[in-house]
Each structure stands twice: as structure tokens, then as C-alpha cells.
Amino acid sequence: GAGVSQTPSNKVTEKGKYVELRCDPISGHTALYWYRQSLGQGPEFLIYFQGTGAADDSGLPNDRFFAVRPEGSVSTLKIQRTERGDSAVYLCASSLYPSEGYNEQFFGPGTRLTVL
């Protein structure tokens, strides 16, 4: 079956604009994660969904960042009033269920966000 997909693959926006990044997880995967990766760094956790609810949003940097997963499948990461420091690759991952962390995560190709 299809893997995790993310759209758009690249997004260029101006400072202060609003952006939405979309993630389509693998069908049947109940757990969905968002990460952000800056150049030369490892991915940093942003938020985790179990089903429709955000079980852990401790990685969101501030209240300009928000994510939803209304039907427990597709998720959208929303960034308001973008800043140049938001430029990064945003990665989405899904897994069957976290179950004490034993399940591997399947990553999408990422969305490269550039804020001018």
C-alpha cells in the first residue's frame, strides 16, 4: 500500500503569512506524529495524535503552531504569522499504535518550508 504522503513538498511563503501543511498517514495507523528538522540537525518532536486527539503537544514551539486530525486520519499542521525561523523541513510519521513505543514509525518525505 501507499506510504505516508505529505503535501506540498515545498512551500515558500512570506513572513507573516499563514500556511497549512498536510499529512496523509498509512491507512489504519492510529498514531500520527509531526516533527521539524532544521539543517544539520535531527528531527524535533512537535505533536502526537492518537486517533483524533492530540495526546502530546509539548513540542509545539508557541501558540502560532496548531495541528488537527479531525477524523483520525489526515492531519494538518497550521502555522500562523510565519517567521523566518520557522523555515525547516516538516516531517510527518505514522505507526500502528504506540504500545509502549515498540512500533516503528513510517515517515513521509517531508514539506520543506521556506519563509522569506
Binding site: V4, A31, Y33, Y35, Q37, L39, G40, Q41, G42, P43, E44, F45, Y48, Q50, A55, D56, V89, L91, A93, S95, P98, S99, E100, G101, Y102, N103, E104, Q105, F106, F107, G108, P109, G110
Partner: protein, 110 residues
Amino acid sequence: SQQGEEDPQALSIQEGENATMNCSYKTSINNLQWYRQNSGRGLVHLILIRSNEREKHSGRLRVTLDTSKKSSSLLITASRAADTASYFCAETDSWGKLQFGAGTQVVVTP
């Protein structure tokens, strides 16, 4: 914030040689996972080692875990040019959340 630290940051070897990279972590873990990333985009899961395991093999990969030292190592044997990538270790908490290190950039030359 980054949790683990990989060592070395970069590694350059020739095809056929072995590549070893190490990872140290700070907290108690449920398990530790290793991922590979090509060209700065999607990550691919390589291997998962549980906190009660000490060594695990998968093809040309060998992972060890020393919970007393809070460290893990990844060995790639008989490396190939296609192994050129960045390699990350990641601690996993009970929710499955991954906390990655900064990674080791491996270059394998023919």
C-alpha cells in the same frame, strides 16, 4: 531539544569497510531506534532494540545497547556506496515519541 548525541558527527570510509557510530542518551528508555535519512528528507527505520536487549542484528546491521552507560552503537558491515546517508538514533518514550540526536553523516566512496 535534542536528546541523544551521536559520535562521530561525520564518517568517511571506502566500500567494503565497516562503519561504526555511537549514540549516547540521557533518559531511561523503552527502546532505542536507529533511522537512516537520504538527502535530508524522509527517514527510514532500520532497527529497534528494546531496553532489555543487548544486541540485535538485521542483515549487515548490528546494534548494541548498554543501558548502564546509556549508549548504543550501530555497525554497518561491508559498506556500500548506497549506505551513504545520515544515521540517527532515537530514544522512544511510552507514547512512541522519538527524540533524535543530531546524527552521523556517513559517506562511502567506491
